[in-house]
């Protein structure tokens, strides 16, 4: 089955779905974002583009990650109920004002985790010693890659939701605003993320591989 069929099927489910796993082809690279994540602000980028050394390093970074990253998303769909206190009842406990506002009007949420795997962490680890500038570019590239992966998944969820006559809202991540990062302790097991995506949590709730993202997409009816 193709990805959109899987997502669509999950979105039509009345009950909480099981986690599903999707593999993606390499998303196209957003160079502006890559450089921004590499500490080159957008207003500097025109200048930076003229630097042949930087261009060579960027090319090196791209050749290094080839075959070292994979694009994988795990997700499930959960119907939202609203508690008497006005907060949404989700599979993890929280009292986040901002999430509450973000989910106003939603009947379902898509919970997902996206990762580009641990290969990029090994590359960063290696090159931040051998060639710090390259390490920084790899770091930025990894951040861009996983964001692009999230965008690709997000876009497919949006398409499917619209096909079903609904729409989606902005994705929202644990650790952002007043949604505590500690919800990761429940969020990731819901997706069987350790086994199926290789994402583990440290004591302080950081994910490894580092280029991993968890987020919540709200789904609104018509």
């Amino acid at each position: 089955m193709d990805r959109e069929t899987i997502i669509e099927e999950a979105l039509t489910s009345e009950k909480k779905t099981i986690p599903q796993y999707l593999d993606y082809e390499t998303p196209s690279i957003n160079v502006t974002e890559w450089l921004r994540y590499s500490c080159i602000p957008i207003y500097e980028q025109e200048n930076a583009a003229k630097d042949p050394e930087l261009a060579a390093s960027m090319e090196r970074a791209l050749s290094l990650i080839a075959g070292q990253v994979s694009f994988r998303v795990g997700f499930l769909v959960v119907p939202i109920e609203w508690g008497e206190d006005g907060y949404p009842i989700l599979p993890f406990e929280q009292k986040s004002e901002k999430l509450k506002m973000n989910l106003q009007g939603c009947t379902k949420v898509v919970l997902f985790a996206a990762t580009i795997g641990s290969g990029i962490d090994r590359l960063i680890r290696r090159y931040e010693k051998a060639d710090p500038k390259l390490g920084l570019l790899l770091q930025g590239l990894g951040a861009e890659r996983v964001e692009s992966l999230c965008n690709a998944f997000d876009a497919e969820v949006k398409t499917c939701a619209e096909k079903l006559g609904g729409k989606t809202n902005w994705r929202y991540s644990p650790g952002y605003g007043d949604l505590p990062i500690e919800v990761q302790r429940v969020f990731l097991p819901l997706l069987d993320a350790e086994r199926r995506l290789g994402i583990t949590l440290s004591e302080s709730c950081l994910m490894a591989p580092s280029k991993s993202v968890t987020a919540i997409i709200g789904v609104l009816p018509k």
Binding site: M1, I18, P41, S70, R126, E128, K133, I181, G198
Partner: protein, 826 residues
């Protein structure tokens, strides 16, 4: 048929290995699937059902025995000390084993039945990529193993492991706490690798080296998607191979999980792999007793393929295996202090980055393995080798050759090594073999054996071959096969004895062709005492390769040696379409045809296009500002002939760094450029340090600076950048790494009496750890100033947690450190 109680009485553990010799062994199917059907709620720990609903567990497990499973796994996948306290853990494991035994007793199946202690991952990623200590993981798994052994299981089954280091921790725990057979099963992704990158051959190397009794794969995928993984196991493994796949891929149907492979197709796919040679089969997620029944039925028409010795000589890192005996293997010799003053200085100063730099340079030069020797009389070799192994395996995926004469250091290194290491070395002396072989038997290893013994190094090839034969025999006593030995018949200089090389070459030939084992040499000794050594050394290398040499410990920076290596492989049909050779040849530096142009500007001379105000004033400064690493190095080297090292630092390097630093502060250059300049400056410092090491002096130093990413935080990229820039400015930086406990920071500050400490945190959740560190510093090291930085910090935040200064970036940190340093000087 053997009655089950008899089975227990006479020690079932021997039985299962005996039983497997002539039979397929059938495992059970997915436990989780059936537990959910029986009403296990999401979030509920299945292990608790061993006590709260034993009848359900027994019913499920009995249904597997009824279907023909020989082995049922106890319901203990997540039974570990992270989830349960000791008392509950013991109770749950005991109940789990009793339930499985009861299921066997109640089953109508007439086959042999065994109970395995099931062990799944702790779910923690180990350091350096995660935050959990390897030894803590070993301790956690050990608890589970001990309770399982006490409860009386027949074997230990480690499964669904998706990281090689975690797998090693679990297997080590099983081996250290029981004598039971241990089966190890890993979870491979669709790319045929573990989540953290290991390929099947790497896992085979490590697990067989540690004497797992059966190895293979489970979970993740259906049987058809695991064919490639299984074929690789069967190619390399000399122990039985197991497979426990999912019923294909899961999907959601009206809130229920369904799988896309059904029992008949499942049995057909598994059956094909049984025909190819796997010996142990079962199922994982989604496989009900019907699947097992179908597999057992399908197997009846198949004769088990005998498990044979594959004789593949492997070493491995955490991602890849390197095989000896086919294409020659290059082992980089540069991580070794012998005769290298600069390296000795790095060891004394605990300068691990220098060693890592040598590792990465050699990897770029094309070696497949790295020799690691950190032995100096005045350093704590076991501690340093342990640290070097951990740090090296974090930055390189090349396998390591641990090179030490200290057995304590050897054990520390082998234990922490993530893979199967090369062990350098044993020889024919009984006192050495009796100490090193037990370590190899326990941790695995590919052992270099020198052909010398109590009588010294024999002159003739025949006598060296005799010693080799003796070593092979002795190794077998420890269960070490000859495929795990590689002989070094010792190259000695022809300047002392012109027959020396002949004896060595003959020995290589005989050991390889008569004894059938691999050989290795430290090549360069042959030319000691002669002029233009490279000519002799590389020719000797070519001759030895022709005689069958499998590996060389060599200097990969020698172009002559690399020429021989690439040419030999091309000439011996080891290089398809000569692609490696062509690639190598195309990247060779063009031969220098011209003498240096007369009148070239000296390094310290004013730069031709130096800008009028504040630009780089000299060629060297310009090179640093532009981040030209190699040019900076060569210019510095030239300049050292006329200028004092400290003058170069003060008049060239620091001013150049200041130019870039100021431009960075004015946002005229961006971070990658700053880093390039810093790297270039480092090249200048390296040249200065080299010279000073020769003179026995120390490099230029400003005050000590202790830097760390705080406890609980594993982001260290920003910290590493700050460290690099600080070092450039001459500060004696002690980098404690990331996730550093509060007291460790304090202890280091006290040890160095450091006047300044830099703490980094990226996350709001770890700022309390920063605050706690500052509090302890105020109590125990009140002299130290503390600056803080990191993504979440602000001036207000820094004030609130009692820091002396908030530093926004690397340059602000340098400026603050300079302030403190000047106050001390002044």
């Amino acid at each position: 048929m053997v009655n089950f109680s008899q089975n227990m009485d006479r020690g079932a553990n021997m039985n299962i290995l005996d039983y497997m010799k002539d039979h397929f062994l059938f495992l059970d199917g997915g436990m989780g699937t059936l537990l959910q059907e029986a009403g296990l709620q999401p979030g509920e720990l299945p292990e608790r059902w061993n006590v709260s609903c034993p009848e359900e567990i027994i019913r499920i497990q009995k249904s597997y025995y009824d279907a023909g499973s020989n082995v049922v796994l106890s319901n203990t996948f997540g039974a570990n000390g992270l989830k349960f306290d000791d008392e509950e853990l013991e109770t749950l494991i005991k109940a789990a084993v009793e339930n499985a035994r009861e299921a066997a007793r109640q089953s109508t199946g007439t086959q042999e039945k065994f109970v395995a202690l099931d062990i799944g991952s702790l779910g923690k990623l180990l350091k350096p990529y995660g935050d959990y200590e390897f030894e803590d993981a070993v301790a956690m798994y050990s608890k589970t193993v001990r309770f399982g052994v006490k409860a009386g299981v027949d074997l230990i089954f480690i499964e669904t492991m998706n990281d090689s280091y975690d797998t090693k921790a679990a297997l080590l725990a099983a081996k250290e706490n029981s004598d039971l057979p241990v089966f190890v099963s890993n979870a491979y992704g669709a790319d045929g690798k573990l989540m953290t990158g290991a390929c099947p051959a790497a896992m085979v190397a490590m697990l067989e080296g540690m004497h797992a009794d059966a190895i293979g794969a489970n979970c993740s995928l259906g049987p058809d998607q695991l064919v490639g993984v299984m074929e690789e196991y069967l190619e390399y493994a000399s122990v039985p191979v197991l497979l426990k796949p999912n019923a294909g891929l899961p999907r959601s149907e009206n809130g229920k999980t369904v799988y896309d492979v059904f029992p008949p197709e499942f049995a057909e796919s598994v059956g094909k792999l049984l025909e190819k040679g796997i010996r142990i089969a079962g199922g994982c997620c989604g496989t009900t007793p019907d699947y097992i029944r179908a597999v057992v039925e399908r197997s009846k028409s198949i004769t088990p393929v005998p498990v044979t010795e594959k004789n593949r000589s492997l070493v491995s890192s955490y991602t890849q295996a390197v095989e000896f005996g086919r294409s020659p293997i290059l082992i980089g010799e540069r991580i070794n202090p012998t005769g290298k003053k600069r390296f000795q200085q790095a060891l004394r100063e605990n300068d691990i980055d220098y060693i890592l730099g040598e590792a990465l340079k050699q990897q770029d030069a094309g070696v497949q393995l790295l020799d690691v020797n950190v032995g100096l009389p005045e350093i704590d070799e076991p501690a340093f080798l342990l640290r070097a192994v951990k740090e090296l395996q974090a930055v390189t995926d090349l396998p390591l050759q641990l090179d030490t004469t200290d057995p304590v250091a050897m054990e520390a290194g082998l234990r922490a090594y993530n893979g199967k290491a090369m062990v350098n070395s044993v020889n024919g002396k009984e006192e050495v073999m009796s100490v090193i072989f037990p370590l190899v038997a326990k941790y695995g290893g590919f052992v270099v054996a020198l052909t010398l013994d109590e009588g010294g190094i024999p002159d003739t090839a025949e006598e060296r071959v005799a010693i080799a034969a003796k070593i092979i025999k002795r190794a077998a006593d420890y269960g070490i096969s000859k495929k795990d030995l590689i002989f070094d018949p010792l190259a000695m200089t022809i300047s002392a004895d012109t027959t020396a090389a002949l004896a060595t070459m003959q020995a290589v030939h005989k050991i390889r062709h008569d004894l059938g084992v691999n050989t290795s040499l430290g090549i360069s000794n042959v030319s000691f005492g002669l002029p233009s050594r490279n000519i002799i050394t590389s020719t000797f290398f070519a001759l030895c390769l022709q005689d069958g040499l499998s590996a060389a410990i060599m200097n990969p920076y020698s172009q002559e040696m690399m020429n021989v290596y690439y040419a030999f492989r091309a000439l011996h049909n080891m290089d398809e379409n000569c692609m490696d050779y062509i690639n190598y040849a195309q990247n060779l530096p063009a031969p220098s045809m011209t003498a240096p142009a007369a009148g070239a500007a000296p390094a310290g001379a004013p730069a031709a296009d130096a800008s009028s105000s504040g630009g780089p004033a000299t060629e060297l400064q310009k090179a640093i500002v532009r981040g030209l690493k190699e040019k900076t190095g060569s210019l510095t080297k030239a300049l050292l002939a006329e200028k004092k090292p400290l003058e170069i630092i003060q008049e060239e390097v620091i001013p150049a760094l200041n130019i870039v630093g100021e431009d960075f502060e004015k946002k005229k250059v961006y971070l990658p450029q700053l880093l390039m300049a810093a790297e270039a400056a480092k090249a200048a410092f390296e040249e200065v340090k080299k010279l000073m090491a020769e003179d026995g002096g120390d490099g230029p130093k400003r005050c000590a600076f202790v830097i760390a990413t705080v406890h609980g935080d594993i982001h260290d990229i920003g910290k590493n950048i700050v460290k690099l820039i600080l070092e450039n400015y001459g500060f004696a930086v002690s980098d404690l790494g990331k996730d550093v406990p509060e007291q460790t920071v304090v202890d280091e500050v006290i040890r160095l009496h450091a006047p300044i400490v830099g703490l980094s945190a990226l996350m709001t959740t770890t700022v309390p750890a920063m605050e706690e560190t500052i509090k302890l510093l105020r109590e125990q090291a009140p002299w130290a100033k503390v600056c803080v930085g990191g993504a979440v910090l602000t001036q207000e935040y820094a004030d609130a947690i009692g820091a002396d200064r908030y530093c926004r970036d690397a340059m602000e940190t340098v400026r603050y450190a300079e302030e403190i340093d000047q106050a001390l000087q002044g």
